[in-house]
């Protein structure tokens, strides 16, 4: 499966930023993950694609430790996130910034407070420094001047971007995007992708994105992985991925129905 691609990437020597080893998880008797193995290099942008219900969200939540697996390990910089003291877990998690599907903004707070939240929580910055940092983050997602708004006033795309800004406010080493363009129109979706690409240029981060939107995957990915039936069935650079012979991937790329699933 994925072993063939290792050599191609040519970066096997450096230790991986994220290593996922034989991850198993089931919900109410249904196996969602059936032995996922994955390595993400430092500074890389990996996009995991897959059909609805393939377990993409479950996988990305494992990466940050929101879900504990039944079997397997998630190793971040050599530390096992699936087996650590609660306080240590929190420390490991501080390396992450995560953007959620619908933004998951705290609706009791304004945009400014949302972005300032991790800063207030985890740093001893004074208010002026916090305000500066929030402005910086908002500028990065092209939302200057919206700090005073309530989260309920924001459009879907703006919510995502505020989510991004919040995710990057602590200057994380790893950024996770959970379906950043679900439910957005193609133009807004393209804007979001552009913001992600721009953030990647400006910040030195490792990014893992899950999406079912192939267009957006090709726009932001260094490597694309296909998650199907709870396993990574393919992982490759975008140009290689596009030409993979797997019929499922071809159908997925073309947006055509799969016979077995239609039936």
């Amino acid at each position: 499966m994925a072993t063939g691609e290792r050599g191609e990437s040519g970066r096997a020597a450096a230790p991986p930023k994220i290593a996922v080893i034989d991850l198993h998880k089931s919900f109410a008797g249904r196996e969602v993950l059936r032995g996922v193995n994955l390595e993400v290099e430092a500074g890389e942008s990996l996009v995991i694609v897959g059909g609805s219900g393939a377990g993409k969200s479950v996988l990305i939540k494992h990466l940050i430790g929101l879900i504990t697996p039944e079997r397997g390990h998630v190793i971040i910089d050599g530390e096992d996130l699936t087996n650590c003291e609660p306080a240590r877990c929190l420390a490991i998690r501080r390396k992450f910034g995560m953007s959620f599907q619908e933004g998951a903004l705290f609706d009791s707070m304004t945009v400014f407070e949302n972005i300032a939240f991790p800063l207030r929580r985890h740093t001893r910055m004074d208010e002026a420094a916090i305000a500066a940092r929030v402005q910086e983050c908002l500028a990065l997602v092209h939302l200057d001047g919206t700090g005073g708004k309530a989260t309920s006033e924001l459009s879907g795309g703006m919510r995502r971007r505020v989510g991004f800004a919040r995710a990057i406010s602590l200057q994380p080493e790893i950024l996770l995007f959970d379906e950043p363009d679900t439910g957005l129109d193609p133009i807004t979706s393209a804007v979001i992708d552009a913001v992600i690409v721009e953030m990647r240029k400006q910040l030195d981060v490792t990014m893992v994105t899950i999406t079912h939107n192939m267009q957006s995957a090709f726009r932001i990915a260094d490597r694309i992985a296909m998650l199907r039936n709870g396993q990574i069935t393919a992982i490759a650079r975008p140009d290689v991925f596009r030409s993979l012979a797997d019929p499922y991937i071809q159908k997925f790329l073309a947006g055509e129905p799969l016979e077995e699933e239609v039936a």
């Binding site: 609660p86 929190l90 998690r93 995560m98 959620f100 998951a104 705290f106 991790p118």
Partner: protein, 266 residues
């Protein structure tokens, strides 16, 4: 043949549903104690969010004062009215004050206040945390290396536990005042005697046990509300379910634990 099979499957179905129900109950109890344990664990760890505590204390204590005060005052009034009518029959009107003060401090004020808070605060805790859960805000907290138990549950449970005893203390006062007003103004009881009788048979233990009860009830109802909210699944409907069952469970557990607390404290 097929009839036998359906019959057998009927029996299995009944057993299954019984099993599922009891598993659900165990799960519920397990969640309660998980939240309780996690709350205690995270209460004594940094950072300590004093602002959030204050905010929750205002929400639970200060903002609940009108409803709890009214409940208690009218309870005191009704109690005085009823016992006066009864005691009048054997010329023991003097004991109305003692009955009102004793039953309020020992039992009625803590339980009624807790039930009102279970309705007012327990439900809102469940709804708040439930909404945060289904909109992934709780996950977001995790993702921001913030323990949601510590950030959300600890101040809420803490504020409820801390605020219920003073709330009940004020409720005691208002309830006794209600009984006093009715007895003196409506029934023509002697105000001085009434005032004296109010405290004559009252022991500090009566008051303190009522306050201890209130603290325990506060802990129970807030942990119930938080655990219901924290483990919400199923979108907006799930939030509604969590809210309802937080009130129902909270009230039932308060009344049941009231019995055992009374057994222990008196």
């Amino acid at each position: 043949m097929s009839a036998e099979q359906t019959q057998a499957s009927g029996v299995v179905g009944v057993l299954e549903s019984v099993g599922r129900k009891s598993l659900g109950l165990f799960e519920e109890i397990g969640r309660f104690f998980f939240i309780l344990h996690a709350t205690v664990y995270w209460t004594f760890r940094r950072p300590f969010d004093g602002k959030e505590w204050l905010r929750q204390m205002v929400r639970v204590g200060v903002d609940s004062l009108p409803v709890v005060g009214l409940t208690s005052m009218f309870t005191g009034m009704v109690l005085a009215l009823q016992t006066y009518r009864g005691f009048e029959r054997f010329h023991a009107e003097g004991f109305v004050a003692s009955v009102v003060s004793l039953s309020l401090t020992r039992e009625l004020a803590p339980v009624l206040a807790s039930l009102m808070i279970a309705g007012r605060v327990g439900s809102s805790l469940a709804a708040e945390l439930g909404t945060m859960r289904v909109t992934e805000q709780i996950d977001a907290l995790y993702a921001m290396a913030t323990e949601p138990i510590q950030y959300l549950v600890v101040p809420r449970v803490g504020a409820t536990t801390v605020m219920l005893p003073p709330l009940v203390a004020i409720a005691n006062g208002l309830g006794i005042f209600g009984g006093y007003a009715i007895s003196v103004a409506l029934m023509g009881a002697n105000p001085v005697t009434y005032w004296e009788k109010t405290f004559q048979y009252l022991d500090l233990n009566d008051v303190s046990s009522g306050l201890i009860k209130a603290a325990v009830f506060g802990l129970i109802l807030s942990v119930t509300g938080c655990s219901k909210g924290f483990f919400t699944t199923g979108g907006a409907e799930g939030v509604g379910r969590a809210t309802t069952s937080a009130v129902v469970m909270g009230s039932v557990v308060i009344l049941v634990s009231d019995f055992f607390l009374t057994k222990i404290l008196f």
